[in-house]
Symmetry: C2
Subunit: 216 residues, 2 copies
């Protein structure tokens, strides 16, 4: 969560247990899928308060209202996660890593987070280099089931690897998505139908500067 | 293993299975306890060849010769791991992280590796800052059983945290070990008798430069 105290309030009428369950689910795919440098803080926390003053019926599980509430809460948490990634120390680029078609959600998340946390991937992004080797290498090192021959990789809308083979591309075209302020890395594992997204940023000289020059 | 092809040869007379077992044990505490940036390469490998030409008796398990051979092999692999860490991209300092008195070897290794791989710890070392908070934070984030109130931390020969409490020190004294070219970080978890060591280096501007400016 990148050192964050997060407070969310609502006037919904919902029991503490149901609110906790909604929050846990929303946080898993947002704030707990966020990484600036892979480090965590002892301060990291998300606290949610509901005062029940909405005047609407109590929100109960397995109802459309519950689904809608959970969806809205996930949206809020995702927005916060994206803002934190944008604001990463020294970040010059915002990066989303989409791992799709994995065998399991755990595999998809492991792949997305390993790529998001890889200093080699993050410095390549800072250097605006479409270094697909580092991305696939991180995916392979994630511990998830990955079959290189089934893996397809996009940087933005440019397909750079198809089923394990680098796509023949003009260097200018391959590099184009790397020049943008926001980059989406999409890894299609071709092994199932589960997906996960990690929210992160690049690793720049300023990351080192900010964290090396800060003294206790 | 930090992108490495490692070949070891010996004239010892030892069966392939026994050699493999010796090598696995030696590598676990040396080359597989090495990290420059937490990334792995698909090239990483250790290959060992024995031609049996020593003219000595075959080395068999549960003998003094086997123990001696395993010890010598571990020493060779450890020396190689140290050399690679010294030679890390942009490294200005060589760092050893000793996690001692853990409940299990797995816990000790998890703590040592998490500290060794923490970008916040590595940039603090580059900045020569005795930032004990980042070290304890990484230990706590390792997934291992850690009790802050039992944890003692040394930078070199300076005790900086004793059982969870920062030691009152003159800033000059606290900083002294950080100025050296080699730093030993020792985390005493106070929970058992297992230990592990990680071999690593700091994270500098040059790490970013080398890895951002290299283009595919």
């Amino acid at each position: 969560m990148a050192t964050m105290l997060c407070f969310i309030t609502t006037d919904a009428d919902i029991s503490p247990a149901d609110l906790q369950s909604c929050l846990a689910s929303a946080v898993e795919r947002s704030l707990n899928s966020l990484s600036v440098d892979g480090d965590m803080s002892t301060n990291d926390c998300v606290i949610m308060l509901a005062n029940g003053k909405s005047g609407c019926q109590q929100i109960k599980p397995d109802t459309p209202a519950y689904e809608q509430f959970e969806k809205a809460l996930t949206q809020v948490c995702t927005e916060l996660a994206k803002q934190i990634a944008h604001d990463g120390e020294g970040a010059t680029k915002y990066v989303e890593v989409h791992a799709i078609n994995a065998e399991s959600y755990a595999d998809a998340k492991a792949v997305a987070m390993k790529i998001a946390n890889s200093p080699l991937v993050k410095t390549a992004i800072f250097g605006q280099d479409p270094n697909w080797g580092r991305v696939l290498c991180a995916a392979g090192g994630s511990g998830a089931h990955v079959d290189p021959a089934k893996t397809t990789l996009h940087f933005g809308d440019v397909k750079i690897v198809e089923k394990g083979e680098p796509v023949k591309l003009d260097a200018q075209i391959a590099r184009k998505p790397m020049l943008e302020k926001e980059l989406i890395i999409a890894v299609d594992l071709g092994l199932g139908d589960k997906s996960a997204t990690a929210f992160t940023c690049d690793f720049s000289y300023d990351y080192v500067k900010i964290n090396a020059e800060y003294h206790t």
